[in-house]
Subunit: 323 residues, 2 copies
């Protein structure tokens, strides 16, 4: 009996990865490509070996790790905050872009342009301490619900990607978020949702001042952009925070183009994948023709670049975790 | 014999930490404070317990992990680069601040002010790719030698601090550098010297552009300051990169004041220490009256703040690693 148990344990340890890992990924070329890459990366002496310290995998967030339609969830947060604060600001009823938000008129909000967005960000993201902002985000994420799915936003994460990140960490990879969204908007909930700690979250950031307020050190958030972690900003953010080239990158839109390009430009092994939103029934279907998460140039160039397209409808047996 | 070996191994495993750790630290209150803090932090259920994910320790670099006299080593790098480039720039012989560097006249360099420093930085740190800069730094660190000790700069690291960082990592702490020096100046050699990988190095940074040069993604370094990681910039850098408050911090000058203040302002356990340069024979002796690494306000406030002063002459049996 003891010998038998021992053999079973050994078999489990050396058995094929697909037997236990990535249960929400359907068998096919994409799952194979992931497992082949990781198996090679962890096979010492093989041609695909990646030194443990170089096992860096970066993930976009919106549309790659969680849903981004009908609009970026951070924009839903902004709308909810404006509505919450409106009773104290009666003037907003007449004043764009606040008027547009309060009337649910997204076109009017869009028409207010960069100046409008800056005003919205100032009111909802700045002139408060980092601690206060963290509390507001935590409250919101635990109470707000997605209009179509009627579920908390942090439950609209992609189960296959959660499994993928677990699988990568089990194989010695560091998993990093590299998102156009706000770093401080993701940090309060990303560890629970994805198992990614705050120090592995790279995102856009606004200016902050260190101040002593009532005897206590605080970070005062100011309505000025410090860094935009999108497009060419993504590799720059990676270089600033990580200081080395990732070997794996996952994105879903043209905003991830340069991150995928940078990741796959090294001499050693690399793997880049794009989540292609093909599933209008279970999630959303969009690529070239959308205002949120547009995937155009990256899809056109993917074959020549060797980037894989994850076909959500075909490759994922489950989209979201069980409620 | 086997039983004896087994008992020995067990004794080693449960024996007091000072028996095997921190051999270059002399017995005394500072070594005790470190070991007491770490023992409590790793004693589950005890009053000093620190959750593994909160075990963040931050270290200043210049004067805390390596020597900073007679001038910051990054300034030695700048001087050496200017001298190296001078044959291609005959006009520098007459033009401050280059003239001052070439004539070894540090007063003239200082007199050139902020504009002079910016010019020196532009010439030595910018208008090149990150890859090229990394190569230049690596070349320099492997060939340049300290004027007094006639040793490579990266061998003038403090052996006790290297042991301390090892000891902390063995106890589940993440060790981070938070330096006023350039992040990209430290990254090429800090992993070998300190066991700290590039993604755990926070430092000052200049502007960078992502560009495709000869078909290859590159980061072009530009002569504009992006972030100054000094003084109040240190907690801001920590907040941007780590996103949580450290529980341990080590510095040596007033430029570390706010990092120590932030670290010791939480509700839970924390420990802050200042390396006090008291050893003119083996290293340098200075505090309030120096232009490099001035320690004044932080020393005055240390007792009230509960910050410990490491007395280099008293607490360290060795300063540098064996050559």
């Amino acid at each position: 009996m003891r010998l038998f148990a021992c053999i079973l344990a050994m078999a489990a340890a050396i058995g094929p990865a697909w037997a236990q890992d990535l249960p929400s990924w359907n068998e096919g070329p994409i799952k194979d490509a992931i497992i082949d890459f990781v198996t090679a990366a962890t096979t010492e002496g093989g041609p695909g070996w990646v030194e443990p310290e170089d096992r860096i995998a970066t993930f976009d967030n919106d549309g790659t790790l969680w849903t981004e339609h009908p609009v970026y969830f951070q924009f839903m947060f902004v709308s909810d905050r404006i509505r919450h604060l409106a009773p104290r600001h009666p003037e907003w009823k007449l004043q764009p872009p606040f008027k547009g938000i309060l009337e649910g008129d997204t076109k009017a909000v869009a028409a207010s342009g960069e100046h409008g967005v800056t005003e919205l960000m100032a009111v909802t993201h700045a002139w408060m301490t980092a601690e206060a902002f963290e509390e507001i985000v935590s409250d919101w994420i635990s109470t707000a619900r997605h209009p179509r799915f009627d579920r908390p936003y942090d439950s609209l994460i992609y189960q296959p990607m959660v499994e993928l990140m677990d699988y990568l960490r089990d194989n010695g990879f560091q998993t990093w978020i590299v998102s156009g969204g706000g770093a401080d908007f993701m940090r309060p909930w990303a560890d629970d949702a994805y198992g990614i700690p705050p120090q592995q979250i790279i995102g856009s950031q606004i200016a902050e001042d260190y101040q002593i307020i009532e005897g206590k050190p605080q970070f005062m958030r100011k309505p000025q952009v410090f860094f935009v972690d999108d497009g060419p900003g993504k590799p720059v953010g990676i270089h600033r925070h990580i200081g080395k080239r990732p070997v794996m990158a996952f994105g879903n839109s043209d905003g991830d183009y340069q991150m995928l390009e940078y990741t796959t430009s090294g001499d050693g092994p690399s793997l880049a994948m794009i989540v292609h939103h093909t599933d209008g029934d279970r999630e959303y279907a969009y690529d070239r023709d959308t205002h949120i998460g547009r995937l155009d140039k990256a899809m056109t160039d993917a074959p020549a670049k060797g980037w894989h397209l994850i076909d959500m409808a075909r490759d994922w047996s489950t989209i979201y975790p069980e409620p």
